[in-house]
């Protein structure tokens, strides 16, 4: 029996939860596969940064969260927001620039947000949400509520000044934040080993007196265990935590980047460690998933995604003048006061 199976499932997760994780990972993979396909067909505009290979990190992390907890995300954030609860229907509508999209077609792939589920939004600036997230945690602490915030970011953000300022303030304030670094080994094309000189990330972070852990980001349950510990600590008033999840971006930086800087043998090795396949093997070995159920999940996910694309394509485009709204709460874009009723 291999190690991955010998370990057994986390005792605090039900079979339904485990299957939910598996389904959600497949949903993320399927969403991005289809997004790529329709992007390449010229139906989706802009940039598309895919997170294929990284699904275990957001799903493992968000399994430890409540609906009213917050996340911040990145330009590579489809997986993060689906893991937290975004509906792929409104995500596709956003990618298609439709009025039914999460951001009414004003954000697109890099800015999907759903404030009703604490999804504060992805950001197109690498590291852009890292200094924002400690403020969310500070707000939680000042409001005296037991929510937490998870700040997702990539290895590319760890060389920027905002990363260090955010770690320092979070530690100083002892606020309920979990930093989750999805270390996929490449900041666009820049390799991780050329980001910091002989220095483990968890060591660097631990010097801020923040508990830091490095986990296998291709193992959804390992990520879950680390996240659960960090979330429990934050909720109990124990302050910030840091998780580095070692993972891999199967594809290039964006759709259209062949990823020539990623050695083929390296890509092959990581593909073999696919977290979705791993969780599937574990669930089957533990008797949580039959072949039939597995096929059913695949069919359900396909149906959901096809329905979502159909919804997006049949949704109306907003009138072009909608480009002028949603700039301010109290004023139109020219600065004329809006009445209470038309404030938007």
């Amino acid at each position: 029996m291999s190690d991955e199976i010998k370990e057994g499932p986390p005792e605090d997760l039900t079979r339904e939860q485990l299957l939910g994780m598996y389904r959600r990972m497949r949903l993320i993979r399927g969403f991005e596969n289809r997004a790529k396909e329709h992007f390449e067909a010229g139906e989706i505009a802009g940039f598309l940064h895919l997170s294929q290979g990284q699904e275990a990190v957001p799903v493992g992390t968000c399994t430890a969260l409540r609906q009213d907890d917050y996340i911040t995300s990145t330009h590579r954030g489809h997986g993060d927001v689906i893991a937290k609860g975004c509906d792929v229907k409104y995500m596709f509508a956003e990618l298609y620039g439709r009025t039914t999209g999460y951001c009414k077609g004003k954000g697109g792939s890099m800015h999907i947000a759903d404030f009703s589920q604490g999804i504060i939004g992805a950001t197109g600036i690498v590291g852009g949400s890292v200094p924002t997230a400690p403020g969310i945690a500070l707000s939680i602490k000042m409001r005296g509520i037991d929510q937490v915030v998870v700040c997702f970011f990539g290895d590319g953000a760890t060389a920027g000044g905002g990363f260090h300022e955010a770690l320092n303030l979070s530690s100083l304030w002892q606020v309920p934040i979990i930093f989750v670094c999805q270390n996929n080994l490449y900041a666009l094309s820049h390799p991780w080993e050329k980001t910091a000189y002989k220095c483990e990330l968890s060591y660097r972070v631990s010097t801020y007196n923040i508990p830091a852990e490095c986990v296998d980001g291709m193992d959804a349950l390992a990520v879950y265990r680390a996240a659960k510990k960090a979330v429990d600590r934050a909720r109990a008033g124990g302050g910030p935590s840091f998780i580095e999840a070692k993972t891999y971006r199967f594809l290039g930086h964006y759709v259209g980047d062949p990823g020539l800087y990623m050695p083929p043998e390296e890509r092959e090795a990581w593909r073999k460690r696919d977290a979705i396949l791993k969780l599937g093997r574990q669930l089957r070995a533990w008797g949580c998933l039959t072949e039939e159920e597995d096929a059913q999940i695949a069919a359900d996910v396909d149906a959901e995604l096809e329905g979502a694309i159909a919804f997006a394509k049949s949704s109306p485009l907003s009138p072009p003048e909608d480009a002028l709204t949603d700039v301010y709460v109290h004023f139109d874009y020219l600065g004329n006061p809006l009445d209470e009723g038309e404030q938007r």
Partner: protein, 328 residues
């Protein structure tokens, strides 16, 4: 009516809004007692409200402005202090890419009730890293509101409004205004954004001025009055939203327009006012529209050099005189 300083007026606004709404809190460098902030606006507030709500931070502009954005997005109403507007550069990603844009990017889901209090301006030999006037950058920024009060009355009324708005505000004070005094009522009042104030009525020439330059324009008007030239000084008070109507009404009366401010002329706020007047009130103008601004150079240190670039009362008066006499 009692007279208090610009500094005390600002402090009253902060204090009253903190008493009124427990979600309001202050964050920034050196703002707690006994130091009480670089220009002493927050002096006395940390003993009253505690250091949670008067939250002194390390020198970490990107960090604490970012934290202000995050807190504002999730139910708090932070008033963040940037000691000098020159330091806003260190936090620019959070101001420009996050605070100002997240409402739009999220399709109107987000509200960002964040006030960034800061100060700029010439006059203390502070040189090029402590004396800039960067308001035009923020006026240019969709999603941001910009207030620039010139009197204690305006400072208090506008700051209270800024704190109550659910949009991000750059609230730009002036380092030489903190000690100025003026009438401020004891009773509660607020000033809406987007309403200019005619600080002095006149018939020969309109001078639109901002912040400290309003005081200089008023001095110029006083000097010129003795020469029989009548100047109308208009203070927009908020640069965005801009009350262009009041300026149009003024040039309708005077048919001459000068826009004066401390910041460099090139691409400055004056250019926006003048473009709007050219567009909306061209027919009322009978003389070339003028700018009295700093030349587009970094701020020099030595007093005589700084004086040379400052749009002061003499430069404003000279330009008004030339314009009214038809010499331009």
């Amino acid at each position: 009516m009692r007279e208090i300083t610009y500094r005390d007026a600002l402090r009253e606004a902060l204090r009253e809004e903190m008493l009124r709404d427990e979600r309001v809190f202050l964050m920034g460098e050196d703002i707690a007692d006994p130091f009480g902030s670089a220009y002493k606006v927050t002096l006395g507030l940390s003993p009253e409200f505690g250091t949670d709500r008067v939250r002194q931070t390390p020198i970490s502009e990107l960090g604490f402005v970012g934290a202000g954005v995050g807190a504002a997005l999730t139910g708090m109403r932070p008033v963040v202090e940037l000691m000098y507007i020159d330091f806003s550069m260190l936090a620019m990603d959070q101001i420009v890419n996050q605070a100002a844009k997240i409402r739009y990017m999220s399709g109107g889901q987000a509200e960002v009730p964040l006030v960034i209090r800061t100060q700029g301006g010439l006059g203390r030999s502070s040189a090029a890293h402590h004396a800039q006037s960067l308001e035009a950058w923020f006026v240019h920024l969709p999603g941001m509101l910009v207030a620039m009060p010139s009197t204690p009355y305006d400072a208090k009324g506008l700051l209270k409004t800024a704190i109550r708005l659910n949009d991000p505000v750059m609230f730009i004070e002036h380092k030489l205004l903190y000690n100025t005094e003026g009438p401020v009522p004891e009773e509660e009042y607020t000033i809406p954004f987007g309403v200019a104030d005619v600080k002095c009525e006149g018939t020969d020439c309109t001078v639109v001025a901002t912040s400290m330059t309003v005081l200089k324009a008023l001095q110029a008007a006083e000097m010129l009055k003795k020469e029989g030239i009548s100047v109308e000084v208009v203070d927009p008070r908020t640069l965005f939203p801009l009350d262009i109507e009041t300026i149009i009404q003024s040039v309708r009366k005077t048919s001459r327009l000068i826009v004066a401010h401390e910041s460099p002329e090139r691409g400055g706020f004056a250019a926006e006012v003048i473009a709007q007047i050219a567009d909306k009130a061209f027919g009322y103008i009978d003389a070339p529209i003028q700018r009295v601004c700093a030349p587009s150079v970094p701020t020099p240190f030595a007093r005589h050099l700084e004086d040379f670039i400052t749009a002061d009362e003499t430069k404003i008066a000279d330009r008004v005189r030339s314009l009214v006499r038809g010499e331009i």
